[in-house]
């Protein structure tokens, strides 16, 4: 555990530098904010277009789907802020040999690689997404309760854990297939499925996105918590899945590293 603590100290120093560096690029903040607003608008228009031709999407009303969309955007913001700049660089680090420099440090390599760099401006995506979810929640006419809030926070944390585990899994493939450098694009493609509630997909697709690559759940379950659809049993299951995902990511990382070091880099 001391290794984790030391890693946090090292990371904090990195984040400070990172923050000072980012301050130089305020233009990026404006640009990324405009980008987020634009893509949010496109997503809202898409949902609006669906609802021009239907009254509900897989049993979800318009504002319910917008709640989900807000959560999707917040989760995407977490990906952009932490995962893409951090563990997303793993494949290029493996190829360039930069990973060796990490491995010789007295830090927890997985922790360090995952959180070394923050794209702080993209936190705006998280804020905007949650704000949209809150607004849409108000529009649904539901009232906030302790159970709703707690179950949302827990399931959203689980969603982050699952998305993180998927990134670790995809990026670890770099240890086996050095030639593939756009694994992140594979995530982007699959994550598109999480824009809609799982119940909106027909049979074959539901099987693909919901069971084979259970990515659609990452937004559906937290959105269910906010829209009164979450059964306590499902919440428990989600929690178990989140913990299992973190455990699995750790095991996978170890296996990948073992392969890396035994192959002599």
């Amino acid at each position: 555990m001391t290794s984790i603590r030391r890693t946090i100290v090292v990371l904090r120093a990195f984040w400070q530098l990172n923050w000072l560096e980012e301050l130089q690029y305020r233009g990026n903040f404006i640009a990324s904010l405009l980008g987020t607003v634009f893509w949010l608008a496109m997503a809202m228009l898409t949902v609006a277009l669906y609802f021009r031709h239907t009254a509900s999407l897989g049993g979800w009303q318009f504002w319910d789907v917008v709640v989900l969309l807000g959560i999707f955007n917040a989760l995407a913001g977490v990906v952009e802020t932490v995962l893409r700049p951090g563990i997303g660089h793993l494949p290029s680090d493996v190829r360039s040999g930069a990973l060796d420099l990490v491995l010789v440090r007295p830090v927890d390599a997985q922790f360090y690689v995952s959180f070394r760099r923050l794209d702080v401006w993209r936190l705006a995506d998280v804020v905007l997404g949650l704000a949209l979810a809150a607004y849409a929640f108000a529009q649904t006419g539901r009232t906030m309760s302790a159970w709703v809030l707690i179950s949302f926070i827990v399931t959203f944390a689980v969603a982050i854990a699952v998305v993180y585990a998927i990134w670790v899994a995809l990026m670890s493939l770099a240890f086996w297939f050095v030639a593939v450098e756009n694994m992140a694009a594979l995530f982007d493609a699959l994550f598109e499925a999480a824009r809609n509630p799982v119940s909106a997909y027909p049979g074959a697709l539901r099987f693909l996105f919901v069971y084979l690559i259970p990515i659609a759940w990452t937004t559906t379950i937290p959105a269910s918590a906010l829209t009164g659809r979450l059964q306590p049993a499902l919440a428990m299951w989600a929690l178990a899945v989140g913990i299992a995902a973190l455990g699995a990511s750790r095991l996978l990382w170890r296996a990948a590293l073992k392969r890396y070091t035994s192959a002599g880099g």
């Binding site: 301050l23 130089q24 305020r26 233009g27």
Partner: protein
């Protein structure tokens, strides 16, 4: 026949956005950008005859690359004119491009993921080289550059030196009349540097190509050419023979001796300035004209095991030249140190 490269009063001025450091500066620059005019190249005039090789020397940011970019048609001059292979580089179009090659040491055009042979094929088509010419030239370049089977390995697997050799081959398949080289040996190992120097000399001999190169390495210069252009802060400070520059700027010779008996430093100072003293060897600087006499006296007076007379190292001469040039531009901006052999365009 007109000269291969003619630059007449060539100047280039950039508008550079001025920005104070920090967030305040960034925001102020966003609101009301300030521009400062920077003269990268200032009234540069020279001419290079067909088949000549000339080295372009100067510290980083002196204006060498900007001048090369104007001569290759990448940039257009703010004022003045350039003529290369009979064309105005900026308006010469494809007929002009057919006649030149521009090799940048830090930016390779070899297809990174494919063997150099593929880049050769591509350049053959791009420059419209006939099949017969292509195979003859390819064979010659492969031989002169000792490429062997390097041409069949993906470029990314080659060493820096191997890549630069292939880069040169790719750039010469269309047999350009004028060859511009920007730091062609930068960062290469000694052996690769040597191969490239020898190659460029040999290639020029065979094909009468005109070469203008910039380099940090004096060995590139001394191996290839006797004529140098020295530029600093955008101004041409010197155009002429390297040896004359040495003679004028540093009119000294260095006598290197190895003594067979210990001699105190003070004793050596009777002959000239002792630049280096590490018994049993020492280096004494003497005025050029008295070098022979001083050597004779040394040999007569002391127990000398070995003695040689040499020019001061070029690096030092250049450094002195830049030092003088810098002082001179401050004092009297319009006249450079003096380019004795400055050749006016026809």
């Amino acid at each position: 026949m007109p000269a291969a490269i003619v630059a007449t009063d060539l100047s280039k001025t950039y508008d550079v956005k001025v920005r104070d450091p920090g967030i305040k500066g960034a925001l102020a620059a966003l609101a009301r950008p300030h521009y400062r005019q920077v003269r990268a190249v200032s009234s540069v005039t020279f001419a290079i005859e067909r088949g000549d090789a000339v080295a372009f020397l100067g510290p980083n940011g002196a204006g060498k690359t900007t001048t090369l970019k104007m001569l290759t048609g990448l940039l257009f001059p703010s004022s003045g004119r350039a003529q290369v292979a009979g064309y105005d580089p900026w308006t010469g179009g494809n007929p002009f491009r057919q006649r030149i090659a521009f090799v940048l040491g830090n930016k390779q055009q070899l297809l990174w993921d494919l063997p150099p042979e593929e880049t050769f094929r591509l350049n053959r088509a791009i420059y419209g080289v006939s099949a017969a010419d292509f195979s003859a030239r390819r064979a010659e370049l492969v031989e002169l550059l000792v490429l062997g089977d390097l041409v069949d390995k993906p470029a990314r697997q080659l060493s820096l030196g191997e890549r630069m050799k292939c880069e040169l081959a790719a750039a010469l398949l269309h047999q350009p009349e004028v060859l511009f080289l920007d730091e062609p040996t930068l960062g290469l190992d000694l052996e690769a540097q040597q191969t490239i120097r020898t190659f460029l000399g040999e290639y020029r001999q065979r094909h009468g190509a005109t070469i203008l190169l910039t380099s940090h390495y004096m060995a590139d210069v001394t191996a290839l050419t006797s004529r140098v252009l020295i530029i600093n802060r955008g101004r041409l400070l010197y155009d002429g023979e390297l040896s004359e520059l040495v003679a004028r700027i540093a009119p000294i010779k260095r006598i290197e001796v190895v003594l067979s008996e210990p001699v105190p430093r003070a004793r050596l100072e009777e002959y000239g300035r002792v630049a280096h003293f590490a018994p049993p060897s020492a280096t004494i600087e003497v005025p050029r004209e008295s070098a022979t006499a001083a050597s004779a006296r040394l040999l007569a007076d002391l127990a000398v095991a070995d003695l040689s007379i040499q020019d001061p190292p070029i690096e030092e001469v250049i450094r002195i030249a830049f030092g003088e040039g810098a002082q001179d531009t401050d004092a009297e901006p319009e006249t450079p140190v003096r380019a004795d052999v400055r050749r006016a365009p026809p």
